[in-house]
């Protein structure tokens, strides 16, 4: 298939202090082509697209767009040339409605009524139903993404960059998004699709450029490769799935009964009648699209959000009214999703961050005075046994990369001989090797007799490590089911289908 060339990248390099984010990167995207940019976290995908979108200037190399030299100094210039981007993290104002949010992203917004009409027209044309008058705070993650996509489509782009668009979608929503993207591609809009989800890339993309440590390591046609081959090109090593030694299921260590709680987070989701139990040696995987009560569930389990005493039972004892310190004493450790500011204090050293949750179960205080020597030993033990790459235990948490910090934080919890482990998004933003290590460590703890709850948006991860599977949807938890024998379609239905999107593509 030969397509006229739309974007050509030649020898692009970009360095940050201490890191070469992109090193002599070259590739080309044809008109109407769906081009995948594949690589692990930290491989340089984000830096590369930021340069194409004018957020970052390259140190070396040149770009050509529609045959002319292309050097966007800021996103406005990129948009004017016909490049649009949907970010992984949405930049939307929750207290404004859809049309107002779209208007805020435009240089010269038309009058509101005209804009609302155009939003409706575009949303119908591409099968992305969206009411311009709705408040963004009330929308699901999938719907918010539609706002971002429509915002881009209104500019009639020649190249649409999508950064990890499916991480917030249910399987059905992914299918509908792909239909939209294929339609755009058929109309001649090229799509630069960033992901590390291999099956998606195989089903959607025409070409793929694979990045590793800032360099292009391969260019291929994804349909002609297996997912495993793609993964090995991406990681640069052969991968083995985690080993499981399922132990005997013991007595119930965590019981949650009819747990309801209002969300302490603005525009959060309250929990509605959540019930489940976790036995010793068992891993319960909780799936769901972001914003369906995951953060709230973690807070209610960690003790930051208190409920009725008998709503949460740890080791048979009522614990719903206990704070985080008392729950740790009872044997429950928790790892929140947000590492920089919630699980860890970014400006504090790893030693201080080890103390943050380890103080109690590791006996790091005497009469209220901190035993810093013992705390340092604990921190260094975690650094050594979880292969945390850091110059030392004295560095600030924020100086570590996401994956390294996550290894430290998970290790900090797992090394407290817990009875119950609750983790939200254990491997979000973590590279494949580190993710595998984290999953293995979790499974090892379960094999030693801990009860584990893993909340994650990565279905593959849950299917890999969980024994029981449940879905959080709008604050309600489905009845846990054994993982064995579950199909992706069943999971999709448990996740609440496609949030009212089917209608759109029937027209």
């Amino acid at each position: 298939m030969t397509r006229p060339e739309l974007l050509k990248i030649e020898g692009i390099s970009k360095s940050y202090p201490g890191v070469r984010a992109n090193d002599d990167v070259s590739f080309a995207v044809g008109e109407g082509e769906v081009h995948a940019l594949l690589g692990e976290n930290g491989a340089g995908k984000s830096t590369l697209v930021k340069m194409i979108y004018g957020l970052v200037r390259p140190d070396e190399g040149k770009m050509t767009f529609r045959g002319a030299p292309y050097t966007p100094g800021k996103p406005g210039e990129a948009r004017a040339s016909g490049v649009a981007m949907v970010f992984q993290h949405f930049s939307l104002f929750e207290a404004l409605n859809v049309a107002e949010n779209v208007a805020l992203g435009m240089e010269n917004p038309p009058p509101m009524r005209e804009l609302a009409a155009r939003i409706r027209a575009v949303s119908e044309e591409y099968g992305l139903p969206l009411d311009p008058a709705r408040m963004v705070g009330d929308l699901s993650a999938g719907e918010r993404q539609r706002v971002e996509i429509i915002r881009c489509l209104l500019q009639d782009p020649k190249l649409l960059i999508m950064d990890e668009p499916t991480s917030v979608l249910t399987p059905q929503e992914v299918e509908i998004l792909f239909r939209t993207l294929r339609q755009l591609s058929a109309e001649g809009t090229a799509i630069l699709y960033i992901s590390h989800k291999l099956e998606e890339i195989r089903s959607l993309c025409d070409e793929a450029t694979i990045l590793r440590r800032g360099k292009v390591v391969a260019t291929c046609t994804p349909r002609e490769k297996t997912a495993r081959e793609l993964a090995e090109m991406m990681v640069g090593a052969t991968l083995s799935p985690p080993e499981r030694h399922p132990g005997e299921k013991g007595e119930v260590v965590l019981g949650v009964t009819d747990l309801s709680a209002n969300s302490p987070i603005p525009f959060g989701t309250s929990l509605k009648g959540v019930s489940f139990t976790v036995a010793r040696g068992e891993v319960l995987g909780i799936a769901g699209v972001a914003g369906n009560g995951q953060d709230e569930l973690l807070l209610a389990l960690s003790g930051e959000l208190r409920t009725g005493a008998d709503k949460v039972r740890i080791g048979g004892h009522a614990a719903g009214d206990l704070g985080p310190a008392d729950r740790r004493k009872a044997g429950l450790v928790a790892a929140p999703e947000d590492r920089y500011g919630h699980a860890a204090a970014p400006d504090m050293s790893l030693i201080e961050n080890a103390f943050l949750t380890g103080a109690l179960r590791r006996g790091l205080t005497r009469n209220g005075f901190i035993d810093w020597a013992a705390t340092r030993t604990f921190a260094e033990e975690v650094i050594a046994s979880y292969d945390v790459r850091t110059p030392g235990s004295h560095v600030a948490a924020r100086a570590l990369s996401g994956g390294n910090l996550q290894k430290f934080l998970i290790g900090r919890e797992l090394d407290q001989s817990p009875e119950v482990i609750v983790i939200n998004q254990p491997t979000w933003g973590v590279d494949a090797a580190a993710a595998a290590a984290i999953r293995q460590a979790i499974l090892n703890r379960a094999a030693e007799g801990a009860g584990v709850v893993v909340i994650s948006q990565d279905l593959d991860e849950l299917l890999e490590i969980a024994d029981q599977f449940a879905v959080l949807n709008e604050g309600r938890l489905t009845k846990p089911r054994p993982v064995q024998g579950l199909t992706i379609d069943e999971i999709g239905l448990m996740m609440g289908g496609a949030h009212g999107m089917e209608v759109a593509h029937h027209v």
Binding site: R57, D59, S302, G303, E304, G323, P324, A325, D326, R328, A334, P336, D338, G341, H342, A343, A344, A345, P346, D347, M348, E352, F355, L356, T357, A359, T365, G368, F369, I370, W372, V395, A396, R398, A399
Partner: protein, 360 residues
């Protein structure tokens, strides 16, 4: 074009260098100000920074340094604990006044009892008075989520009104021929707070200030409570995850800073000021805010900053009387110190880069 770039870890060098740079910049900008006012800038700066230590009247002025530094340090250390936790008690001046009134009130109520217990009782009452006054904004904050900055600040003016009432009304010296002001503590030995070593300026307040400095240092570096205070200020969500109860921390920090400010007030009124009078307070409670930041919210830094600030007070007064400078100019000078400190402080966490260097 210059831009700021966040450092991966805070710079140790700038942490200690910022106060020095800020003092130097204040000298330069202050010198320009004094020059514009028609004075010889070098002479004024010399009068402020040199004469109190080594000049003609240094034998007297050096003692004055400790007299002024004592309450500043005592209050600033209390404030710094709250500031570290992100709790902004701006009303130390009011707590200082209320501590003085309560402590002096208890002592005067016992007049003329000559017992060794009078002074300790007065100290206790002083601390309690300051604590109670600080509890008002603290409880309003935890109960109704009011802003402690505004409430504590406004309570300063309430306290000043009560002070006026005290010195002209309920605490007025009955033998004072109707003049405002309470009995003098210098003639009531059981309750007085005399100079401990002649000429040094050291009274019990100074002892308390230095002891508090050491205690606060140990608290912050070794005790779990100090850890929680720092954590709550740096990462509030991580603090809740750790198990800190934010409301308890507000009550604790406000209470502690209030009690220390109250103590400072009691020591001042029974010592250097000598009696409750309508204007015995000279703004230590506000200046202590500058001292707390000048000392990097670090107890040992605050002790040094307290002496530096005392120097600008003593030297500033000299400059005002000897060289005819308006006292407002001296206050502007002290304000500059905080301004430059906060400005230069950016360098601890950021470095300046030129866009040209970044692009290469």
């Amino acid at each position: 074009m210059l831009r700021l770039e966040k450092r991966p870890t805070p710079s140790k060098f700038w942490l200690y260098a910022t106060p020095v740079v800020a003092v130097l910049l204040t000298m330069i900008a202050g010198g320009i100000l004094f020059g514009l006012l028609g004075k010889n800038p070098v002479a004024v700066i010399r009068t402020i920074f040199w004469d109190p230590l080594f000049g003609e009247f240094a034998f007297y002025l050096r003692g004055q340094l400790l007299v002024k530094a004592g309450p500043l340090i005592l209050i600033a250390i209390g404030l710094s604990l709250g500031f570290r936790a992100g709790i902004w008690n701006i009303g130390a001046e009011g707590q200082y006044i209320m501590g003085a009134i309560c402590g002096a009130g208890v002592a005067l109520a016992l007049y003329p009892t000559e017992s060794r217990l009078v002074f300790p009782l007065a100290i206790l009452a002083g601390a309690l008075g300051g604590w109670a006054w600080a509890m008002i904004p603290a409880i309003l904050k935890t109960r109704f989520n009011t802003n402690e900055i505004l409430v504590s600040l406004m309570l300063v003016y309430v306290a000043e009104t009560i002070l006026a009432k005290a010195s002209t009304g309920f605490l007025r010296n009955p033998e004072g021929a109707g003049f405002p002001g309470s009995r003098s503590f210098s003639s009531y030995t059981a309750a007085s707070n005399p100079e401990l070593i002649a000429g040094s300026g050291l009274h019990w307040g100074g002892v308390a200030a230095l002891a508090t400095g050491v205690a606060a240092y140990v608290l912050l570096s070794r005790h779990i409570l100090g850890f929680q205070i720092k954590l709550a200020g740096q990462a509030p969500r991580a603090a809740r995850f750790h198990g800190v109860n934010p409301e308890r921390l507000v009550l604790l920090c406000m209470g502690l800073s209030g009690a220390l400010a109250g103590l400072a007030g009691l020591f001042e009124v029974t010592g250097p000021a000598g009696k409750i009078s309508i204007d015995f307070n000279v703004g230590y409670g506000f200046t202590a805010i500058i001292v707390a930041f000048l000392g990097r919210l670090n107890p040992l830094g605050i002790v040094l900053a307290g002496f530096l600030m005392a120097l600008t007070y003593v030297g500033g007064e000299m400059a005002a009387t000897n060289m005819g400078l308006p006292s407002a100019a001296i206050q502007v000078f002290q304000g500059m110190l905080l301004f430059f400190l906060l400005g230069v402080d950016v360098l601890t966490n950021y470095r300046i880069r030129s866009a040209l260097m970044g692009a290469r």
